[in-house]
Amino acid sequence: MMTRLAAWWRERVPVSGVQLRELTNEPVPNHLKKWWFALGGTPAYLFVVQIVTGILLAFYYQPAPSTAYESIRFITQDVAYGWYFRSLHKWGATFMIAAVILHQMRVYFTCAYRRPRELNWVIGMCLLMTTLLTGFTGYSLVYEQLSYWGAQVAANISNAVPVVGGVAKHMLLGGEVYNERTLPRLYILHAAVLPTTIVLLVIVHVAFIRVHGVTELRFPDEDVAKPSHYDFFPDHLYTELSIGLVLMILLSAVSTIFPAMIGPKADPLTTPEVIKPEWFFYVSFRWLKLFSLTFAVLSTGFIVLAMFAWPWIDSALRRLTGSDDASVYIGIVATFLLVGLTVWEAVVEH
């Protein structure tokens, strides 16, 4: 019976285990055995966690100003394990954004974006932007005071972008001001448009990695007698699964110890005395306090554009300075600035 069933399956799915192994097998350089070199798989794993918990939350969430807050309260306080899945989703977002930033920093400081991998760096930047947008739209859905005013501020920031800003604000809000059509828009962006974009970008990102191979790094303490590569399947897959297991334990622990809370309901007529965005926007929030809106928006746009174009800027810098390390020094200064502004915004009220 089993033999006949296996034969039936093989006839309809004529792919052997050997073919599957060949298809997935990518020689992986030894340094990927260290977790900080394997940070690309971490956001991918967390993305799956977000999809699963997000689908669960969507069974109860109602994206309208009159119902959103109450449905979040219902999920958090009344539904069985609602607090747990909501907390997993919230902390999963935090971990995912942190992992994307760390992965990008690893790629930056090891100069893995250099020729011929420039386009994959651009895809990675698109993934960073899409992930941040997903985080922003997700937080806005809670419809508590801070998330409402965060969305309000963000929409007005986009309004300050030259030429396309007004249209972008109108498209985001579904009108000139935050109205009853805004939450459904943020919801469909968060739950459908942005995740689909992430999936498509990840497919292209991984395809580029398969085409170019993983960046080869050389270390002075390397044993030349040992093989420099190992198999993706099953060796590296096990590494990724182990990282995933550790992540899940961490995520579950943090969600239990610091569960997602719910603040006061959004009041469009009263801005809270102390207002903060999510931690990953502390930098831009502090930047907005330091400079005029036009300068802050234009300079942020310029920095993001420079990040997109960094492989080519780096190439020009190397030609100009004759040194390979200019990007590394710039990266160190940028990291200090990033961390400094984030901590500054975190520790002060205004």
Binding site: A64, A155, E176, L269, I275, F291
Partner: protein, 190 residues
């Protein structure tokens, strides 16, 4: 299936021979196909864009604030619009026209947060990015000062000695609320 396989790689419709330059008819068909696809999907994209952009505006209307002679020069009154928005109406000078009054919005022109009056500091303060405005709505601190942004002023008119202000009639605060709050002049501020 077999017929498909045999036809592949050959030109059988009278076009250019294999490897040759495309002839006029083939070029025309390619252009027609490309143009048709671009026009079709382009139209769809344009319609989708317009669909997403539509949103409708919010209704505005003239609301009674106070009788002109009940507000002294330099005196301000807090006014709650039908949508709950807070306004500060101040008489700036002697006279019976709308130009003698200002109606300041409580929405910060920087990024849309709500300002509130701080009596101890004699200023409107925005908690989002530390913007501040004086009694007339002129910027005194923070990003609004850097960008010279003043508090928005609502249109006013005077008819038969009665002062009216034009404000939005509905807001998100009303969502799920069947009852629309009525206009009610508030007390003096500052």
């Amino acid at each position: 299936m077999a017929e498909h396989g045999e036809a592949r790689g050959r030109v059988s419709d009278g076009g250019e021979p294999d490897g040759g330059e495309p002839n006029g008819r083939r070029l025309f068909l390619r252009a027609a196909m490309g143009g048709g696809l671009a026009a079709g999907y382009g139209t769809f994209a344009m319609m989708a864009g317009k669909f997403l952009y539509s949103g409708g505006g919010s209704a505005v209307g003239w609301q009674f604030v106070a009788t002109v002679d009940s507000v002294g020069i330099g005196e301000s009154i807090a006014y709650a619009a039908p949508n709950g928005a807070k306004l500060v109406v101040t008489r700036q000078s002697e006279g019976e026209t709308a130009d003698c009054f200002t109606a300041l919005s409580s929405v910060c022109p920087h990024l849309g947060c709500q300002v509130h009056w701080e009596p101890q500091n004699e200023r409107f303060f925005c908690p989002c990015h530390n913007g501040a405005f004086d009694r007339e709505g002129n910027p005194t601190e923070g990003p609004p000062l850097a960008a010279r942004q003043i508090l928005t002023r609502f249109p006013l008119k005077v008819e038969n000695g009665l002062l009216y202000v034009e404000t939005p009639l509905t807001t998100l605060a009303d969502a799920g609320d069947a009852e629309v709050r009525g206009a009610a002049p508030g007390g003096p501020i500052g």
